[in-house]
């Protein structure tokens, strides 16, 4: 794979877009902050909000049904004359478990989709990757046409270009 460092986010993004255009091989960008939407950094959405919604619904529904089961089927008991299925009283616990379900689903889903934990990755071998989380802009390409990718990288003023074994 080819690892290239850039001085600006815009240059890295343009190079990444150009390599992607003519090549089915993977290109990934690395930087130390959220990509800038104005520079086209927000490519693609995330499914995780939907996953979190699913986790929330599962937590909330599970919580509600658990309470309903406990108070109507498993252990019905007359407390203060309330009906067995006194659902307004279940709302706080239902809400709390919905939030818990959503947050845990978000964290777990993030770890899966972000490929974490992953303490070693071949890209770590590149010198340039050291700067990625310190404020640098690093592009990693696995092109089918390496010569063309190199050309594109130098045209967009890459600071350093390295070849790293997979």
């Amino acid at each position: 794979m080819i690892v290239a460092a850039f001085a600006t986010e815009a240059a890295m993004r343009e190079a990444a877009a150009e390599i992607r255009r003519g090549d089915p091989g993977g290109v990934e960008t690395y930087m130390a902050m959220e990509p800038d939407e104005a520079q086209g950094g927000a490519e693609g959405g995330s499914i995780l909000p939907a996953v979190m919604l699913g986790g929330g619904v599962a937590g909330g529904l599970g919580g509600f049904l658990m309470q309903a089961y406990a108070t109507t089927i498993s252990y019905p008991q007359n407390i203060g004359g309330r009906p067995d299925l006194s659902w307004p009283a279940y709302i706080p616990t239902t809400f709390e478990l919905a939030v818990l379900g959503a947050v845990v689903a978000g964290m777990a889903g993030f770890l899966v989709l972000a490929g974490m934990p992953r303490l070693y990755d071949p890209v770590d071998e590149a010198e340039g990757m050291r700067a990625a989380m310190l404020g640098g802009y690093v592009l990693v390409a696995r092109p089918t046409d390496a010569a063309r990718a190199r050309q594109v990288l130098s045209r967009h003023a890459a600071i350093g270009i390295e070849d790293v074994a997979e």
Binding site: Y30, L48, E96, V99, F110, G115, A132
Partner: protein, 452 residues
């Protein structure tokens, strides 16, 4: 929040993403600094560990001898245990308000404060979470609170606010830890790549879980962070509402009021902002954060502090109004005892510390006089503790039935437990301040980039 004139910048002029990364990493890693850990930190840790030791002894003796070592008895069956729990959980709220609510509102001053504020939340929630276990007569059966199919065929009483509270605390503590840790991931990765020694690289590397700042990671990171913040904001309101309902759900004098849930949310905001100010003001100098925590932050926190004090003042007025407007003679008797009786100094201390002194913050010059703000913040923490004392103790001491009137004096063991949790709070917070990045670097970098 911004006045027309003389608004201080939210970051000192000339700061860049590069200088920010260097400075904040230097605060944590202290490469080449002598001594490696500053002396003030060791001194503070020594005091904290002393207090914590006191707490450990108090808990050990409690487990050995039982609840009889406390001053609680009929009719005042709730004492410092519940009081401290409510006090701590309220203190915890400040970090969540700043970190989640103001994230959703998109205010820029939140970014430099959120890490320290969230860390305070975590430490305070930890202290709060141990009291419900300690105040059980048989703490080793605490897991009976969990709903699980057991051989006794029993379930938790889901109609009780105390059980709601269990779920609220469980969710709040777990969600706060996850939200804090999730926000830390990029900064731990920065420390991993910045650290010199092998040991430190492994330490931060393992904690960072392999966050490398790839496009894919950021895309999902941003989405999850935003939804988590959107969930944390109503969560903190629900937690304090449920704490309020712990009291309102009981028919005790002075408690059975629909205003308790918002009243407790206001009180939580007040003590939460107070503790953030108490921590930020000294740490700003000790850690050299002047470039990122500017006068603007102090000013904004002062305004929030004043606003929440006014909200609490409104709740106090409504509490008195509802008592005398309402039909219950027992409520009025209890309230008069609260204001003029044995515990009157507690009531008036509450009013002076929570309502009167914070009015000084109307003046900008006072808001920027840091020692004064610090003292007002400390006063509010004491005042909020007194508020809980008068709510819990005077209500229970003057029940509807005069033959059961009584009083309550906390014992040494209850006091040492309170100071023990202060030690636990400080110890945990000092460790976080020393080992974790104290400013959310990745978010600050994005903010420094500004609008493209």
């Amino acid at each position: 929040m911004s006045g027309p004139a003389a608004v201080a910048p939210v970051v000192a002029p000339g700061e860049t993403a590069q200088s920010l990364t260097e400075r904040i990493c230097a605060v944590t890693l202290r490469e080449g600094a002598r001594p490696w850990t500053p002396l003030w930190w060791w001194a503070a840790l020594a005091v904290s560990l002393g207090l914590l030791g006191m707490g450990v002894i108090a808990v050990g003796w409690l487990f050995y001898a039982g609840l009889g070592i406390w001053g609680i008895d009929w009719p005042v069956v709730w004492g410092l245990d519940i009081l401290n729990y409510v006090w701590w959980i309220a203190i915890a709220s400040g970090g969540t308000f700043i970190s989640a609510l103001f994230f959703l509102l998109g205010v820029e001053w939140r970014t430099a404060l959120n890490r320290l504020a969230e860390s305070l939340t975590l430490c305070a929630a930890l202290c709060a979470a141990i009291f419900p276990i300690l105040h059980l007569g048989r703490p080793w059966f605490f897991y009976w609170l969990f709903p699980y199919p057991n051989t006794m065929g029993l379930w938790a009483q889901f109609r009780s606010p105390l059980v709601w509270d269990f779920f609220a605390i469980l969710t709040y503590v777990l969600a706060s830890i996850l939200f804090w840790y999730f926000g830390l991931l990029p900064d731990l990765a920065t420390l991993r790549d910045r650290a010199q020694g092998q040991g430190r690289r492994v330490f931060y590397g393992v904690l960072a879980l392999g966050f490398r700042g790839s496009g894919r990671q950021w895309r999902h990171y941003r989405a999850v962070y935003a939804v988590m913040a959107a969930l944390m904001a109503p969560l903190v309101v629900s937690v304090h509402s449920i704490v309020g309902m712990d009291f309102a759900g009981s028919a005790a004098t002075g408690w059975h009021s629909t205003q308790f849930p918002p009243f407790f949310v206001f009180g939580a905001a007040l003590s939460g902002f107070a503790v953030v100010l108490l921590a930020i003001l000294p740490l700003r100098s000790l850690l050299g954060l002047h470039a990122y925590v500017t006068e603007r932050h102090i000013d904004v926190l002062g305004r929030l502090f004043l606003t929440s004090s006014l909200c609490v003042g409104y709740a106090y007025v409504m509490d008195a109004f509802a008592t005398f407007y309402g039909p219950d003679e027992a409520d009025r008797t209890m309230f008069l005892m609260r204001v003029f009786g044995l515990y009157a100094p507690v009531y008036w201390g509450t009013i002076v510390l929570n309502i009167v002194f914070p009015q000084l913050l109307w003046w900008r010059s006072v808001r920027l006089t840091q020692p004064l703000v610090w003292l007002i913040g400390l006063g509010v923490l004491v005042g909020m503790w007194l508020e809980r004392f008068q709510i819990i103790v005077t209500s229970l001491a003057r029940t509807q039935l005069p033959s059961t009137w009584g009083q309550y004096t906390p014992t040494l063991w209850e006091w040492s437990l309170l100071f023990g949790t202060i030690g636990l709070f400080l110890t945990a917070f000092l460790l976080i301040v020393r080992l974790m990045p104290v400013v959310a670097m990745a978010e600050m970098r994005a903010m420094l980039r500004g609008p493209a």
